[in-house]
Amino acid sequence: MARSLVVFVAMILGVWGANLAAHHAEAAQFDAAKPVNVTGTIAKVEWTNPHIWFYVNVTDNAGKVTTWGFSGGPPGMLLRRGITRDVLKIGTVVHVQGSRAKDGSNNASGERVTLPDGRNVFTASAEDVGTASQQQR
C-alpha cells in the first residue's frame, strides 16, 4: 500500500513538472499578449494533421511583402465546426487574428479568419486561446 503510494506520488511529481511547461500547445508556443491582426492574400494551405497551416502574404504601406504562417486546428476539428478546406482558398484576401509565436518569427496561431463575404471563422485548435479573437466577441 505504502509503496504504491510512493510510486503514485513520484509519477504525479514527474508528470506535474513536465506539464508546468505546457497545458495546451497554443499557450506553449504562442503568446496571447502579442496579438496579430493582418490582412493579406492566402498563398499556401497545408490542410494537415496535427495542425493546419495557412500562409498569408501581407503587403505593408511601403509595398514590402511579408509571409505570415498561421497554425490552426486539425482537419477533423475544423470539419466539426463546419470549416472545410475550400473555406481557405489560395488567392482569397482575408483578415486573420491570432497570437504571435513566442520565438518572434512571422508565425502565429490563426484564430479568427474573416473572409471577403464578411463571414468569420474560428480556426484555432482550442476554445480558450488568445485575446485577439476573444475581444471580437
Binding site: 510510486v7 500547445a25 499556401k44 509571409t67
Partner: protein, 187 residues
C-alpha cells in the same frame, strides 16, 4: 518567396548542374519522397484516420509503459515481490507485447504520415536514440545477470545488475514518452 515554415527541398538536381546522378537517395530526399506519396498525404490530411492512429499510439502507453513499470518495479525489488521475477514476467508479457506491437505499428504509421516533421525534429532524433538505448539495455540484461536468473528469481530484492537494468529501463521509457510529447511543441 520563402515561407516561414517550409518542408520542401529546393536543391538543384545533379543533372542541371552537370554532376553525375546519384542512384541512392539522401535521408532528406527519402523523407520528402515519403511525404509527397499518396498514402502519406492521405493519412496526414485525414479527418479520422490520423486522430485514431495518434490516439491509439498514446492510449497504448497504458499497456506498454504500464507493464514496463510493473516489471521494472519487480526488478528493482520495489513491488510485486511475492511473485518471482519469472512469474511476474509471465503475467505481464502478453499485455506488454500487445502494447508494444500497437506502439510500433502506430509509431511507424505516424512517421510515415509526417516524415519531414520527424526529420526536422531534434526531439524525434533523441527519441530514436533513447529507443535504441532501451533495446541495448534489454540485450545487456539478458546476456549477463539474467543468465543466472534461477539464482535470484525468488529474491525479494534482485542483485544490483538486475536493479540497474530495471531502473535504467524505467528512466529511459519515461524519457521516451517525454521527448515524444515535446515533439508537439516546436513550430
Amino acid at each position: 518567396m520563402a515561407f516561414a515554415r517550409s518542408s520542401t527541398s529546393n536543391r538543384l538536381s545533379n543533372a542541371s548542374t552537370g554532376r553525375p546522378e546519384r542512384t541512392t537517395m539522401s535521408l532528406h530526399e527519402f523523407c520528402q519522397w515519403l511525404q509527397d506519396s499518396y498514402y502519406s498525404t492521405a493519412i496526414r490530411e485525414s479527418v479520422w484516420v490520423f486522430p485514431i492512429i495518434e490516439g491509439s499510439h498514446v492510449l497504448a502507453l497504458g499497456l506498454s509503459l504500464g507493464t514496463v513499470l510493473w516489471f521494472d518495479l519487480r526488478l528493482l525489488g520495489f513491488g510485486f515481490r511475492r511473485l518471482s521475477v519469472s512469474e511476474t514476467f509471465i503475467y505481464v508479457r502478453p499485455w506488454m507485447f500487445t502494447g508494444f506491437a500497437i506502439m510500433v505499428v502506430t509509431g511507424i504509421l505516424l512517421f510515415f504520415s509526417l516524415p519531414m516533421r520527424c526529420y526536422q525534429s531534434t526531439f524525434f532524433a533523441i527519441k530514436l536514440v533513447l529507443l535504441l538505448f532501451a533495446g541495448i539495455n534489454v540485450a545487456v540484461f539478458h546476456s549477463t545477470i539474467d543468465r543466472r536468473r534461477a539464482e535470484w528469481d525468488r529474491d525479494l530484492v534482485p542483485p544490483l545488475g538486475a536493479r540497474i537494468a530495471g531502473g535504467l529501463s524505467l528512466a529511459v521509457w519515461i524519457l521516451v514518452v517525454t521527448v515524444g510529447r515535446l515533439m508537439a511543441y516546436t513550430l
